[in-house]
């Protein structure tokens, strides 16, 4: 459960002018400036405040997202662009509203105000039927896989297909087996008939990924995929995300507070802080940034900057 931010930043630190003011600048936000250093900006140019035309570069654009739960103002005007085909990571401390933000992307929660454009379509005013269709574009990988205990591996993976289409048993099985093979699960003996309780943590995660991938989604959402894993398992999950992004050509949105893993795999990192996106950039840009809350986050994770400002994470990206 997301709670209200506990640590309030001193306003002064936030007001420090950022490296370069950017992207959604002109969105009449408050003191917080977004600092996205100049980079490929294909979708720029549309007048701020209006719904931009969908461009090839951005799969999801979030504008001015507000959400309150009772007295807690969790999201306070989030602007976020998710790049097509890339690994987009949203970082932020516990209780900063990362999961809430992610649930909004799929339409699982309705915002109080703001826009969420998925492929140029605003999903906020959609009804349940339209949202049901929209959700076929998404696959979600849950923190603890969220496999259905009462169903075996095949039934779990086939679940979206069986619920959405009338396919023959053979076709479903072909697709499930194909996916098991591609996710290195086919060699586990008797996996098809196993129940989630009989799988290891890593296998469960892969089965969860298979279930998210079976209906060929365009966007994959990962909810804190590496939380609670040991370093080796974390590395495996990182590889799984990288490989999936490459092999299936999906847009990945990851929420995480695991900085080492984030800097290893991200194409683009956004930091959610105090209900807003504080900064967005590539890992190298973030490493160079002097933003106080971000620096704290990075330094606490024990990551160092090398001369080029690249993350000196042990497994730098190729």
């Amino acid at each position: 459960m997301e709670t209200a931010p506990q640590r309030r930043p001193s306003r002064g630190s936030l007001a420090t002018p950022a490296v370069v003011a950017s992207s959604a600048a002109g969105q009449d936000e408050g003191a917080t400036r977004k600092t996205a250093p100049p980079q490929k900006r294909g979708g720029e140019g549309a007048p701020p405040g209006k719904p931009e035309e969908p461009t090839d570069q951005y799969q999801i654009r979030v504008r001015g997202l507000n959400k309150t739960f009772g007295p807690q103002h969790v999201l306070r005007g989030v602007d976020l662009d998710i790049e097509r085909g890339k690994i987009n990571i949203v970082i932020g401390g516990s209780g900063q509203g990362k999961s809430v933000l992610m649930k909004h992307l799929m339409g699982l929660l309705k915002p109080d105000s703001g826009q969420i454009l998925v492929d140029g379509e605003d999903i906020v005013p959609m009804n349940d039927l339209a949202l049901g269709k929209l959700r076929r574009k998404f696959g979600m990988v849950f923190q603890y896989a969220a496999l259905f205990d009462s169903q075996n591996v095949v039934e779990n993976i086939a679940f979206p297909l069986i619920e959405r289409y009338h396919l023959s048993r053979e076709e479903v099985m072909t697709r499930v087996r194909d996916l098991l093979k591609r996710l290195d699960l086919a060699n586990v003996g008797g996996i098809e008939q196993k129940f989630p309780a009989e799988l290891s943590g890593g296998q469960r995660k892969r089965v969860g990924l298979a279930r998210a991938l079976i209906d060929r989604p365009k966007i994959l959402l990962y909810d804190e995929p590496t939380t609670g894993l040991d370093p080796v398992a974390t590395k495996n999950v990182d590889d799984m995300i990288l490989q999936t992004s490459r092999d299936f050509g999906v847009t990945s949105v990851v929420i995480s507070h695991d900085m080492a893993s984030t800097f290893r795999i991200a194409d683009k990192i956004s930091m959610l802080y105090d209900g807003k996106i504080l900064i967005t950039g590539t890992p190298a840009e973030l490493m160079r940034s002097a933003h106080a809350p971000l620096r704290e986050f990075i330094d606490m994770a024990g990551l160092r900057r090398d001369e080029d400002g690249k993350a000196a994470a042990p497994e730098a990206r190729k």
Binding site: G70, P71, M106, K133, Q143, Y144, D149, P160, R164
Partner: protein
């Protein structure tokens, strides 16, 4: 929900008093209102596509077949013990031969539906609350939503419908076994005349008594499964909360069965006036 409304309530003068009185009243109405809403949406989804017959059959097996051993065990001893106590009372007047009629009637009208409901609450109701609660905390319910499957339709509707269908069936099983227990006790341990036992039972009980018991059983089935589903479905937190929800489901289910029993008896008595 309740905490939030208390926090935001104005704390001045009359308004404060209103808020003080209002919070418990609101939470009571909220409690019943949420149950009613859940029941209505569960029934609304019964008539919406897709129809998943297997889910209903699975739940009917869980509520019915799964509870069969315990119903048989409890039914037998409840019948036998009520024969025992009835004979003790009737002996005073030397009317022991009425034991078949008395036990049969009380089983049909009260004992079978109420005891069956309590046993099913303890077994199936607690199971439902635990299962739904752990599905909630492990995000399985959220996962259903991401596949555009309504959790109410997929999880709640089959459980409530299965309970409504299976409760009268299990009540009939209880009746038969209970009467069998009473028969064995009376004939073999108390040497009551077999002919009198059977004849007075046939004379005093009527199919409408069993119908009343069946109606009660169906209503109890709705109440106990609703309580269980509501508690399980709305779990927030972790394993501890699942345990608490299960406890609440059993308590709420049992209490609602016993309270409903009184009002139902009253109501059914007007529909089925006692013929003499």
């Amino acid at each position: 929900m309740a905490e939030a409304s208390i926090d935001t309530a104005p704390r001045r003068g009359a308004l404060a008093v209103g808020a003080l009185l209002g919070a418990p009243v609101r939470s009571v109405f909220g409690f019943f209102g949420d149950h009613t809403l859940m029941l209505f949406s569960a029934f609304a989804y019964l008539f919406r596509r897709p129809f998943r017959l297997r889910l209903f059959l699975d739940q009917m097996e869980f509520v019915g077949v799964g509870s069969l051993p315990i119903i048989i065990l409890v039914g037998f001893f409840s019948g036998a013990v009520s024969a025992q106590q009835t004979i003790r009372a009737l002996e005073i007047f030397g009317q022991e031969r009425y034991v078949g009629a008395t036990v049969g009637l009380s089983l049909a009208l009260e004992l079978a539906p109420v005891f069956t409901a309590l046993m099913i609450t303890a077994r199936a109701g607690s199971g439902m609350a635990t299962e739904l609660g752990s599905m909630r905390i492990t995000e399985q319910i959220d996962a259903l939503t991401t596949f555009a499957v309504s959790p109410v339709q997929y999880l709640i509707t089959p459980r409530i419908v299965a309970s409504i269908i299976m409760m009268p069936v299990m009540t009939m099983v209880f009746n038969i076994i209970g009467l069998f227990g009473a028969y064995l006790y009376s004939i073999y341990l108390k040497q009551i005349d077999v002919g009198a036992f059977i004849e007075y039972f046939r004379y005093m009980t009527d199919p409408s008594d069993y119908l009343q018991g069946g109606i009660k059983a169906a209503v109890f089935g709705a109440a106990l499964s609703l309580a269980a589903c509501y508690q399980g479905f709305n779990v927030r937190g972790g394993a501890k909360e699942v345990g608490l929800a299960t406890t609440r489901a059993v308590v709420a289910g049992s209490v609602s069965v016993l309270v409903l029993d009184y009002f139902l008896s009253d109501m059914l008595a007007t529909f089925f006036p006692y013929r003499s």
